[in-house]
Amino acid sequence: MTLSADEAARFAALLEEHEDTLVAAWTDRVATSLRGRLSQAELRRQTSELRRGFQQALSGAAQDLSAESAAELRAQLSELSTNRARQGFSATETAVSVIALKDAVLGILGDGASLRDYVAFSSFVDEAALFTFDSYVRVREELIADQAEQLLELSTPVVKLWEGVVAVPLVGTLDSARAQVVMERLLQTLVDTGSPYAIIDITGVPAVDTQVAQHILKTVVAARLMGADCIISGIRPQIAQTIVALGIEFGDIATKASLADALRYVLARTNKKVR
């Protein structure tokens, strides 16, 4: 059920006429649902802005939210959900900020108002709430995507361990995307530092299955093509037994139990004394 131009105009007038009562009642309801996590003054500012948005949309004879006169309102709603999402409010708490308008309007409607009018207005508010919901979800998804990207950056450092020795401490799950990042970083660092040795440490990898092994093997082969020797360290007893049972062969690649062993091995080969 959509708003007729007539109804829209009536509600626009109503929103204007009862501005103060409406904003107060609306703010009250939102404040209850947010349990004091936003200040009353802040909420009041938000609701009176939204009220203005709704009024503008309705006086422009908006029959639904996609109308041109509702552009301002749409912008306000998406800003509201962006803020709420970033401040960690739930989807319900965000949508309630809009839905509460229905209760507030019901409070100021006189006895003469028709049910048909109210239902039409109500469905307009519902549409606005759904729009808020959608933008909320979109913002949250963007946040998650950003974090995943940051995590990918964070989790694959290549560190210089010694003159001519770089190390890649792998932590967590090594999927194809991360394996690719690790390989690129390692190869680039080999070029940048001119290191002849690279140590791949898998102490932080909880399970080494064939896919992980394959990624590591490919990285080692790529490093070799560039003239660097790779050592795999951090092979714990349970990982060693699992690798044997799986039948994975690391061939002539040197493997060590700990990063310290691997470094000692490299230093011994380069005849450096450790004091």
Partner: protein, 134 residues
């Protein structure tokens, strides 16, 4: 199967990670040794990835089992994919149709205590594995 078993739909790489986490939690709960935990988690990882890559996605159900004498963990991987035409070939070390190492299926069988496979061409594959506490 006794005890609460849990089900995960496998349709993405992330689901394989969830399967691994679920199996690890269960393995810790039934007090498998650290080596056996790692083995069953790795087997689950291989088989869940097979379900995803070769079966085109499916479901994994995992739960604790108790045969009166010993406790353990049982996991079922089911898909409605193309099925496996030549089982002997599939269990050969190093044989792969997908560019992997060709050790996942055969390796997983060596990592667990019981391994049952039911497959038919065009109807999908169902694999049930069990790991007992020693």
């Amino acid at each position: 199967m006794n005890g609460e078993s849990q089900r995960i739909e496998v349709t993405t790489d992330q689901d394989v990670v969830r399967v691994r986490q679920l199996v690890r939690t269960l393995a810790v709960a039934v007090k498998l040794s650290l080596v056996d935990q790692t083995k069953v988690v790795t087997a689950a990882s291989e088989l869940a990835r097979n379900t995803l890559v070769y079966g085109g996605g499916g479901s994994v159900e995992a739960g604790p089992v108790d045969n009166g004498r010993r406790k353990g963990i049982r996991i079922t991987f089911a898909d409605q994919g193309p099925g496996i035409a030549d089982l002997d070939m599939a269990f050969t070390d190093g044989y792969t149709t997908g560019g992997g190492l060709g050790l996942g299926l055969s390796g997983a069988r060596r990592l667990v205590d019981e391994f049952d496979i039911a497959t038919a061409v065009g109807e999908g594959t169902s694999i049930t594995v069990t790991k007992w506490c020693r």
